[in-house]
Symmetry: C2
DNA sequence: GTCTATATTGAGATAGAC
DNA sequence: GTCTATCTCAATATAGAC
């Protein structure tokens, strides 16, 4: 953990992640990564085989974190609606903890799908999708959720709204991840239309 | 319109848009664009100054189309809820008509913001945002929409869900843009929770 | 208008000194 | 472990023939 070599690796990955998120993997040069870390570009190759290896490591670390967090979230959920809220909250916490990885994942996943070197990323990503669909389909079967909208369509709408929120949500004191999770859950479950006083 | 030179330009832009959407602007090479059109890469420079010029033209054409369509949509809307539905429907129709431009816009806008050569794209994009916010704020003021969720937050959630749907929605006979617009409007206004029989 | 050929730059990656 | 220097290749863009 306090291994200095590992610390350097992490530092490089942190700088690379920020640049990959902002400009895209392809548009980021290894020289820029070196500048951000404060070393020459050649030195990066002592720690990593290639630029793509850095990207793979950032994404796999992110996906592993998602799977961990979802497992914890689902373990403590009572019903389908609560499980949905837990998935939303867990995802928002992850976007806050790993904002750059979130952005890279969102922006480049479709493209990376075409690249066989990123096959493991695809597989992990399919499992994440499964977690959402299980919750949504369970809720639909129980009658908690509407039956007239396809679970797949609903899943994609929530997923995009949740993950993309990392692009614009930068936690302030008065609008934290918990508050945003409440708002998103509330809108997706009960809608934005004003409701007659109950 | 039937000017053959202009037709060639359009053909090049269509191929470029598809590649830009799939791989990103930076990751797409002019050779690939040439291959897709069926000409040598050098020949592209008879029609365009640079690869970036192609990207700018694709995006500006897209933004002009949005502004046109939103103006028409809003002109025929009755109340705020209807206006919201019209904006959603208009956007979905645009994603269907210009799927590649939609994807490029979504994936690369944040990055292009940093590039002064794309300043006009930013300005047009700010106007589009204004159209959404006007409708949402009007609805909130009228009491049609909830007052406990920020218009800006709601705007971003709808916007991301709507535009991103172009990534996964490929109109089939039984699930057309109108149907998807209804589902999205319905979920965002009334929620996904099953409602007691009314 | 498109081709072939090529100038030129920029980027990923490597080698060897320190 | 990092630096300097550089190799190598790929990509944008240009020039001139047809």
């Amino acid at each position: 953990m306090t291994d200095p070599a590992a610390a350097r690796r992490d530092e490089i990955l942190a700088s690379a992640a920020e640049l990959f998120a902002r400009k895209g993997i392809k548009a980021t040069t290894v020289r820029e990564i070196g500048d951000a870390v404060g070393v020459q570009s050649g030195s990066l190759y002592y720690h990593f085989d290639s630029k793509d290896t850095m990207a793979r490591e950032i994404l796999m670390d992110f996906l592993a974190a998602i799977q961990d967090r979802y497992a914890m979230a689902l373990a403590q959920a009572s019903d389908a609606a609560d499980a949905l809220r837990q998935l939303i909250l867990a995802s928002l916490q992850l976007t806050r903890e790993k904002p750059h990885a979130t952005t890279i994942y969102q922006n480049e996943l479709a493209y990376l799908r075409e690249d066989p070197r990123f096959k493991e990323v695809q597989a992990a990503s399919a499992e994440v999708r499964r977690a959402w669909l299980d919750v949504i389909e369970r809720g639909a079967a129980e009658g908690t959720f509407r039956a007239d909208v396809s679970p797949k369509v609903f899943h994609r709408l929530v997923r995009d709204a949740v993950w993309l929120s990392g692009r614009w949500h930068h936690a302030e004191d008065d609008y934290c991840a918990e508050r945003l999770a409440d708002d998103i859950t509330s809108i997706f479950l009960h809608g934005f239309a004003a409701r007659p006083a109950s």
